[in-house]
């Protein structure tokens, strides 16, 4: 099989509000950053794939405006997914694997600030039985968190106890880690015990259990084989990648498990060798605990040194950023084998897992 690697990654600073820039104005510096990193011009990229969502902007075909930023005229070979950019990366990866391109530019962006994100996200739900009730994204995550807390009460826990303090510990660890991430939106945290003194937002979730709402963009460059070696000192080779999803209805799922993550990880080869780093797209604290169990991540694995989605969760970009952060750690020699995970939809509805490796230097 053809070797394909992530050879460059860039992201914007993620902020609560960005009214002074349009989407393309927010995105363009990130595109230039990744192209400059590999010394390519936009017209030297074989394939471009993007991820975004019209419901965030409230405008149909809003992604066509962002395309101006890549120099799409005269027409380039281009595609778009109405999903997180991690799935755009998946599409680009298959193009490169098929030998149809040597290089690809993948980007995604989301501005949540124009609308009310908790309402906007209800529009992705089952339109017959669920969306008419307008259950917001935090409430759905809270149902999942409560199920997890109940499950640990009912059964003998495995090795760790899942209680509200364990959730707070995920929040504190993530946001303290984010102090080293200049792009993060929320950094630093009081200790878990202090967090538990805050009121509930939607019980059992407190504000610290939830991701910040914000605007941001990210981009990566993919390249195949020797092209990747030429463009990057230590390419982050994509050894495997797969995405799977759960049944549509929340009421038929066991919300405490994520079989789709486990299956995607198996198919991506995640269990063939231990990883030293994992970037998990867990917007809510409880979801990180679920993902850790499905991915079998032990104490030896660094999880989300970037701070993860609890530090910055730009819609449509936060999943791609997990792949980018994992790749960047390999580029700079801070990891040798990394897992990257992206999710989409309510309660970890759809999950993508990639395995990235660097050559031994």
């Amino acid at each position: 099989m053809r070797e394909v690697a992530i050879v460059a990654f860039g992201q914007s600073d993620h902020r609560r509000e960005s009214a002074e820039v349009s989407e393309v104005e927010m995105l363009m510096p990130v595109l230039h950053e990744v192209l400059d990193a590999v010394g390519l011009r936009a017209d030297e990229i074989d394939f471009t794939c993007s991820g975004s969502c019209d419901y965030l902007a409230g405008r149909a075909f809003s992604f066509t405006m962002a395309l101006d930023g890549v120099g799409a005229w005269p027409p380039i070979s281009e595609s778009h997914v109405e999903m997180d950019g991690a799935w755009a990366l998946y599409e680009a990866w298959t193009r490169l694997l098929a030998g149809e391109a040597e290089t690809a530019l993948v980007y995604s962006y989301g501005k949540s600030s124009p609308g009310d994100l908790r309402e906007v996200l209800t529009r992705q739900l089952d339109p017959y039985y669920v969306a008419p009730l307008w259950p917001d994204s935090v409430s759905l995550a809270a149902l999942q968190a409560q199920a997890l807390l109940d499950a640990e009460d009912a059964e003998d826990a495995e090795d760790t106890v899942v209680d509200e303090r364990a959730l707070a510990a995920v929040a504190a660890r993530s946001r303290i880690a984010a102090e080293d991430n200049p792009h993060a939106q929320v950094t630093g945290s009081p200790p878990p015990e202090a967090l538990l003194e805050d009121p509930y937002l939607v019980r059992p979730l407190r504000r610290h259990d939830c991701p910040p709402v914000g605007d941001g963009a990210a981009a990566v460059v993919l390249a195949a084989g020797d092209t990747a070696r030429r463009l990057c000192r230590r390419p982050a080779w994509i050894r495997g990648m797969d995405h799977r999803m759960e049944a549509h209805s929340l009421g038929v799922r066991d919300l405490t498990r994520s079989p789709s993550t486990r299956l995607a990880a198996e198919r991506a080869g995640a269990f063939e060798a231990p990883a030293d780093l994992a970037e998990l797209h867990a917007p809510f604290t409880s979801q990180e605990l679920i993902l850790r169990r499905e991915l079998g991540l032990g104490e030896g694995v660094r999880v989300n040194p970037s701070g993860g989605a609890l530090a910055a969760n730009p819609m449509m970009a936060a999943g791609l950023i997990r792949l980018g952060e994992a790749a960047a750690a390999i580029h700079r020699g801070a990891a040798d084998r990394a897992l990257a995970h992206a999710t989409s939809g309510p309660c970890l509805q759809q999950n993508l897992v990639a395995v990235l490796e660097g050559d031994v230097l």
Partner: protein, 319 residues
């Protein structure tokens, strides 16, 4: 709420409303029609489980499902979340619990609201029953919410024909989302100049093309356009069409002419209505200028200047 941005950034409210009309399959139709008559239907899978709410296809085996059963209006909470601040469109306007409820006789759970006095009155495993809406139309909202219940447990699911008189075959799902639209740097500059009756394009630093209106980037070079260039006010009709369909909410008599107009100095044409001339006399090359109405932020239309027509060679690249 979104914090207020710096004063030079334009913003405007934007409301998106879409009443989706959706047709129902046979299983969904029976389920929603059943709710209208306080009958709760599930569907039995080929391996014997009862899915409630029922779906047309088994999410595990993908089998087509049609074996309808009636389940009880009472059930058990399988998980919950306390919503202290109900939002627009949600089932109750006082604080409530979101719940997944497995109705007696069913193997899966339904998402809905539980009317309870407070979070301490809710727990996983508690018994609840449906509170029906007073007026029922064949929609999930025919269930007003759940309420605590301490009566007898319902029995096994029993077969049901799914036949009702006057079945519901579709739903109309209204949706409204409110946004605050912000056009960004380049378009804010353009719109602000336009309010002063000045048209400012932006020049690409790489290929030198002047974009009007500017969108912030040159789509050929992929770089920001940041040099402002005043263009017009006069321009040339490069191409046009004659509109014979009256637009809703638009007080313009048909037929009228809608044209591409290349303002002098612009690298591409913008579009606008041409007036002050019979519609059948508008032609390519016609020289026009904007007409501003009192207090308007943009030209109402363009009218002939009276100059000789522009030579084709001067605008052929701008068609």
């Amino acid at each position: 709420m979104t914090p207020a941005p710096s004063p030079e950034v334009l913003q405007a409210p934007l409301v998106v409303e879409f009443p989706f009309t959706r047709s129902l399959g046979p299983v969904q139709s029976a389920f929603l029609t059943g709710l209208r008559t306080r009958t709760v239907l599930g569907v039995r899978t080929t391996d014997g489980r009862v899915l409630m709410p029922p779906v047309e296809y088994d999410p595990v085996t993908a089998d087509e499902l049609s074996d309808l059963v009636e389940v009880a209006p009472t059930g058990t909470v399988t998980t919950w979340a306390w919503n202290p601040a109900p939002r627009r469109g949600q089932p109750l306007d006082t604080p409530f619990a979101w719940v997944l409820v497995r109705l007696d006789g069913a193997d899966t759970a339904l998402l809905h609201a539980l009317d309870a006095s407070g979070p301490d009155a809710v727990r996983t495993g508690m018994r609840v029953r449906i509170r029906w809406a007073g007026e029922r139309v064949g929609a999930i909202t025919d269930i007003a919410c759940f309420e605590p219940y301490d009566g007898a447990e319902g029995g096994e699911a029993v077969p049901h024909s799914g036949e009702f008189t006057d079945p519901v075959t579709g739903i109309v799902a209204p949706a409204r989302l409110d946004y605050t639209y912000a056009p960004g740097r380049a378009q804010s500059r353009y719109l602000k100049a336009l309010a002063d009756h000045t048209t400012r394009g932006e020049r690409c630093p790489s290929c030198r093309k002047v974009y009007v209106p500017p969108r912030g980037a040159c789509p050929t070079c992929g770089v920001a356009t940041d040099e402002q260039v005043e263009v017009g006010p006069r321009g040339t009709v490069t191409t046009f069409c004659i509109v014979n369909i009256k637009a809703r909410n638009l007080d313009i008599e048909v037929p009228y002419v809608y044209a591409h107009i290349a303002l002098d100095g612009a690298g591409l044409a913008l579009h606008g209505r041409v007036g002050g001339i019979p519609y059948d006399q508008v032609r390519m090359g016609l020289r026009v200028e904007p007409v501003w109405s009192e207090g308007s932020r943009y030209p109402d239309h363009y009218r002939p200047t009276g100059e000789p027509d522009a030579d084709y060679d001067t605008y052929k690249e701008l068609l």
